[in-house]
């Protein structure tokens, strides 16, 4: 009987240090996640908090975490006609959506060609496309400005959309190439054996299999373009043609003071479409990113 007891108690005693180690590991991991979350969310909290503070409180040297006095004045001021906030929103939506859509179509064709095509310059072309993404946007801006100037497209939405596409497409092509790499070669070849031409294989087989990739690419491009501030500042020269990031900066930043409360209120409203877009496709986006990553291996 005593032997039986010791046999039962021995296995119970052994896992204890391992369980302690596991608990310790979990705690350390949670602390790490909390620190990362703090750095990611603190600016968002500060943006929200400041957007409800009156002008004096928003600029005081000893800022408080929560507003001492709540005000909606910063939000109301966006729509009182002092600046064309509505135009900024409309311009941003049109240019970002158009750039994302056109870039997505071009990226799908380009990515498919680089992934499944069989032509001599495929590797150098892939590298060249990646190279354009490695260059700072400012470097590309000078030549692009001259091109658009000669085409009379400065201070136009079309010119801005072309500018956005110039940096969005290389990124999109590489993302889409990764997703197309995940489509098995045999599936594409089966469609060839079935008699379909390449463009129909892209439309009927490859694209339906990369829908998460398409959503991911479109979202990344949309966010990338939506947040861009350098191109509209350089390519648009009237306030009413500006988009949100550049328009807000020009409207709220003066020579002697910055209206932090107004800028934060505008930033909150600007972030909402991005958050909606992100949460709407969050699941397929994560799936899409995973598929792309595995395909590259």
């Amino acid at each position: 009987m005593a032997v039986a007891v010791s046999e039962r108690s021995a296995p119970a005693a052994r896992p204890a240090p391992r369980a302690r180690r596991q608990r310790g590991g979990r705690a350390a991991r949670n602390v790490g996640i909390a620190v990362a979350l703090f750095f990611a969310l603190a600016p968002i909290y500060w943006m929200l908090s400041t957007s409800f503070k009156p002008e004096l409180e928003a600029t005081q040297s000893d800022p408080s975490l929560l507003p001492n006095e709540y005000t909606m004045g910063n939000y109301q001021s966006l729509f009182n006609g002092a600046m064309p906030f509505g135009s900024f929103v409309v311009n941003s939506v049109i240019t970002a959506a158009a750039a994302a859509l056109i870039s997505l179509v071009l990226s799908a064709f380009g990515g498919y060609a680089l992934s499944k095509g069989n032509f001599r310059l495929r590797e150098p072309m892939s590298f060249l496309i990646l190279l354009t993404r490695m260059l700072p946007l400012v470097v590309l801006l000078g030549p692009l400005y001259l091109l658009l100037l000669n085409a009379n497209l400065i201070n136009t939405m079309l010119g801005l959309i072309i500018g956005y596409i110039s940096f969005a497409v290389p990124f999109g092509v590489w993302l889409m190439k990764g997703f197309f790499d995940g489509v098995p070669k045999e599936v594409i070849e089966a469609a060839r054996v079935d008699g379909y031409p390449r463009w129909q294989i892209l439309l009927r087989v490859a694209l339906p299999l990369t829908i998460p990739g398409l959503l991911t690419t479109a979202t990344f491009i949309f966010i990338d373009v939506w947040n861009n501030i350098i191109y509209p500042l350089a390519l648009i020269n009237t306030i009413e043609n500006q988009v949100l990031p550049s328009g807000l900066m020009l409207s709220f930043t003066g020579q002697f003071k910055t209206n932090w409360g107004g800028m934060m209120a505008a930033s909150v409203l600007t972030s909402i479409p991005l958050l909606i877009a992100f949460f709407a496709i969050q699941r397929s986006m994560v799936r899409g990113l995973t598929a792309g990553a595995v395909a590259g291996e």
Binding site: P184, E186, D194, G195, Y196
Partner: protein
């Protein structure tokens, strides 16, 4: 239905020549198996026939028409891929109907063909499912069904059973043969499994290093291998090889001898060895080696048992003879132990003789 001919087909990737001097005639309705080890070029040759790879040299003919410049979709072939190649986003029905839609076949005929193929392959009740909802064997049947409904001139099958377990493989082998008998189209089947090749092929094409080594019926390849490679590749367990001297006596008798080995050759076998050759590579099939020493067989081979494989109904006894290991297939009644000295007997009439340098058979 199509007769397929290859004339001096070559394929290179950059400077690397992966196929050369491939000449082959496949008759209408014939089931031909391309077999060889990994990297032998069998899949590349199949893809060239399909039109998925262009040739670097030579010509491919379908019914005496050169198809080098005809796209894969216009060659009227159907292909079954190693990993099935099913469309994951389409149902089983849509997978089979997809190729027919491209050919502008009426909806009613598509429906009839798909349902017929479904019944033939036992997947009639799975037509609404997606590929991910099917087992490996069911997916393989869908891939076969997709090929059958097309009613093509030729079926090309690239290691279609390699992803299935052993039991299912045997079952699907029979299914494929049944389907081939039903549709009677020309079939080219690639495998690295020589058992599959022997059991399925009307003729077998053995490949190695991008070259066709021998083409023949399963029996012909087994009994008359053209070279040492084919002899060693075809047959399970593999043929054993020994290097022996050719000892010719004044009265015209010939013996193969080496330490522990003495095999008298019948005159017609001995006559195949050129007069200036005094060393040959001797191959003996495991079923031609006997532990039963009472039988009247004049060839003897003495060695030490190195390993015994138990297969239930029989044993494979691996015997070391002067550092060469040969395998004998024995019955359950003839148990031997590892390290035991044994004497095997054989008949010189069944000894295969190969050139030591080139490996070519002395026929």
């Amino acid at each position: 239905m199509a007769k397929i001919s290859l004339r001096d087909v070559e394929k290179s990737y950059g400077s690397e020549l992966v196929l050369r001097d491939c000449n082959l005639d496949i008759d209408d309705h014939e089931f031909v198996v391309l077999v060889g080890p990994s990297g032998s070029g069998k899949t590349t040759l199949l893809r060239i026939i399909a039109g998925l790879e262009p040739v670097s040299g030579g010509d491919v003919y379908f019914d005496d028409v050169c198809v080098n410049n005809i796209d894969v979709g216009d060659r009227d072939i159907a292909m079954v891929f190693q990993n099935y190649g099913l469309y994951p986003h389409k149902s089983v029905y849509e997978n089979m109907a997809f190729g027919l839609r491209r050919r502008k076949i009426s909806k009613s005929e598509i429906d009839e063909r798909v349902r017929q193929a479904g019944e033939l392959l036992g997947i009639g009740d799975l037509l609404r499912r997606r590929p991910k909802q099917l087992s490996g064997g069911q997916r393989q049947r869908v891939a076969l069904g997709r090929a059958i409904v097309r009613d093509p001139s030729a079926f090309l099958l690239d290691e279609p059973l390699s992803n299935l377990d052993a039991h299912l493989r045997v079952q699907m082998r029979a299914e494929i043969l049944k389907v081939h008998k039903t549709v009677t189209a020309t079939a080219v089947y690639v495998t690295h499994d020589q058992v599959e090749a022997l059991t399925m092929g009307d003729r077998i094409v053995v490949m190695r290093d991008g070259m066709i080594q021998q083409v023949g019926t399963p029996d012909h390849l087994y009994d008359y291998p053209a070279n040492r490679f084919v002899a060693g590749f075809i047959g399970t367990p593999a043929m054993g090889f020994l290097r022996c001297s050719v000892r010719r006596s004044a009265d015209g008798d010939t013996e193969l001898v080496s330490p522990g080995v003495q095999i008298p050759l019948p005159r017609e076998r001995a006559a195949a060895i050129p007069a200036d050759v005094d060393t040959v590579e001797v191959g003996v099939r495991p079923e031609r080696l006997y532990l039963d020493q009472t039988a009247a067989r004049s060839g003897t081979l003495s060695g030490t048992v190195e390993m015994v494989e138990q297969l239930g109904s029989e044993y494979y006894v691996h015997v070391n003879i002067d550092d060469a290991v040969i395998t004998a297939r024995t019955s359950r009644d003839q148990r031997v132990e590892i390290e035991e000295s044994v004497k095997l007997t054989t008949d010189g009439a069944y000894a295969h003789l190969f050139d030591v340098e080139t490996g070519a058979a002395y026929a």
